[in-house]
Symmetry: C4
Subunit: 198 residues, 4 copies
């Protein structure tokens, strides 16, 4: 089974997800600059989610470059990931509209966690197919970023119960971790890992 159509379908769905979020940015009720100002939180939540979905597309793209073959289970694990990603626009709009209040921020974090778990499940399925010695597993095997992200999401959700902005801060930090070019971060993480062991 070829990976071509799976990539094309995923690209299509992710392209739609990243773009339809803009439909949630409702037009201001006037043509003044003042009418635009209250839209700042909506705009910022859009930017954050755009970066998040972009990160997923980036990682998906990277991961599938080393994929040699796929099977029916991979198709479903991939659809599972797309399912949770497709809920990002909903949480984004809710969070922006209600100015980052507690529950929307928590739900946003929950959906981010589910996306991260779905991504790991897809990775595990692909690892099983390719086997332990494969280039695929050796390239992505030590998923430091993924594990750290999960920890930050959980901390973010917990902090959101106290102050929702602290939750947002955690989500922004995770986005930054992925945004910064891979090699430097990985080197740092490996160094920290080594210094922690010694």
């Amino acid at each position: 089974m070829s990976k071509g159509r799976l990539e094309a379908f995923s690209d299509g769905v992710i392209a739609i997800i990243i773009t339809i979020m803009v439909l949630e940015i409702k037009m201001p009720h006037d043509s003044t600059l003042d009418a635009l100002k209250p839209m700042l939180p909506v705009f910022l939540s859009y930017a954050l989610s755009f970066i998040y979905v972009g990160i997923y597309w980036n990682n998906h793209h990277h991961m599938f470059q080393l994929v040699k073959h796929v099977n029916g289970k991979v198709l479903w694990k991939n659809l599972h990931l797309l399912f949770w990603l497709s809920l990002v626009p909903f949480a984004t709009a809710w969070m922006g509209e209600y100015h980052y209040s507690k529950w929307p921020v928590i739900v946003y974090g929950f959906i981010l966690i589910m996306c991260a778990i779905a991504y790991v499940m897809l990775f595990i399925q692909l690892s099983k197919i390719h086997g332990n010695g494969s280039a695929f597993v050796s390239a992505f095997g030590k998923d430091y970023k993924g594990k750290i992200s999960l920890v930050f999401y959980i901390i973010g959700i917990a902090l959101a119960f106290v102050n929702s902005w602290l939750g947002i801060l955690m989500y922004v930090i995770v986005a930054c971790i992925w945004f910064i070019p891979d090699r430097r971060v990985e080197k740092k993480l490996i160094q920290e890992d080594q210094s922690a062991k010694s």
Copy 2:
């Protein structure tokens, strides 16, 4: 005539169908957890339809892997399938909004039946082109799942007149039949088929 663009176009339409359904999930009217609770039926109908459209993409993907050539009639049979699939978001939203009451559940089942019939019509057209001895026909010829699905849909619609949740149960069972990895189900069905004959 090449199948490449037909696959790409189908992928595009199915990707849009599966994603725009999320636009029907309207934002809660408050930022509390209580405001989110009444959205559960909307969310569940979205999840069910996401799985259904995912199944169709999966099957379409599988079927076209053995397709060697297409013609003008195949293009139209394929568009016919996409037409009925494109009505799934409408029925999904109606069913979720009115908490799985009778008529929305019946209409949802009707659209699922039309999708199934359109899929069979596409399959028959492709079978004609490839001929009886082809790998295409021998791989997909005995469409147990398809036939069972149609029976369950009809039972589901009939039961929905009594209690709409029984109808939903039937649709969920069909989704499960397709969701479970093919080989096991097929083996079971073959065994049942053989024991029924003996």
Copy 3:
């Protein structure tokens, strides 16, 4: 310049046009069968436009199979066609909502004419590139269907001033002309053409 990305982009835009029309089918305001009945005209205008956009995708697909090379002008002529096609959902929704009354039907016909003209302009540009003796020109040169369609659209718009349903009838006839498998229609048209000459 390769035609691959032009085809992919056109497929994407046409896939979105054909699918977002379904977003215009608003949910009924109740969960009864009676609430669904007034939606019949909306549903029928959706089906008609789905067939029309499907015809354009089909023809675009056929035409580009014989295209050898494209240039900057072709890109713009193609975008011009996509522009008018992108207005079909607007006219479709207006026509369905106001039950095929005069002006929506006329505007719908106007947009169909502009699509047809844009298609011819794209064809002429491609003919120029490929030259008179090319397979491209000899295959599509005598565009009987296209010319007849234009005549029917104009008659349809004129009749819509008297009775909008007569206009719709003309649009449906054009759709049927394209829907019926090409060869038979072309043979008939050639026969008629020959008997008209003799």
Copy 4:
């Protein structure tokens, strides 16, 4: 890293951006010709943005034809461009709805400037990868049109503070510069450049 999926993803996002703008053209509140007239500004702003997004797709297509390889930074610079392009539908709808009044026109110009800057950033990143002597840099190196566009956008925004229609005029001029076939404009600009030097 291959450029194929980056092109496919960009095509998908741009196809969606160019098409969902039509969703902002709300249905007239009646079925008369008079009800259609007040929609003219909405329609014109749609046409202008369609041409602008079309120009970006055209240029993106041209630029990537000479691209040999991409890296992680290119993916992000490309997403950055898509981000600003994705805000065009929002500004288009605002500008059309409030009949080209001051602030919507200024915001529209601001987003056009950000798109232009993002495009230049993507170009610079690609130039770095391919090196100074490459076909890529020699083909696109002297970006007269891009620089002139930026000047016109800034003039347009400044003029919009006086009269918003003067701002629109500047944006239309920029669109025309790109719309007119490349070679002639470039020749003219080179001639002007030479006569200015002498």
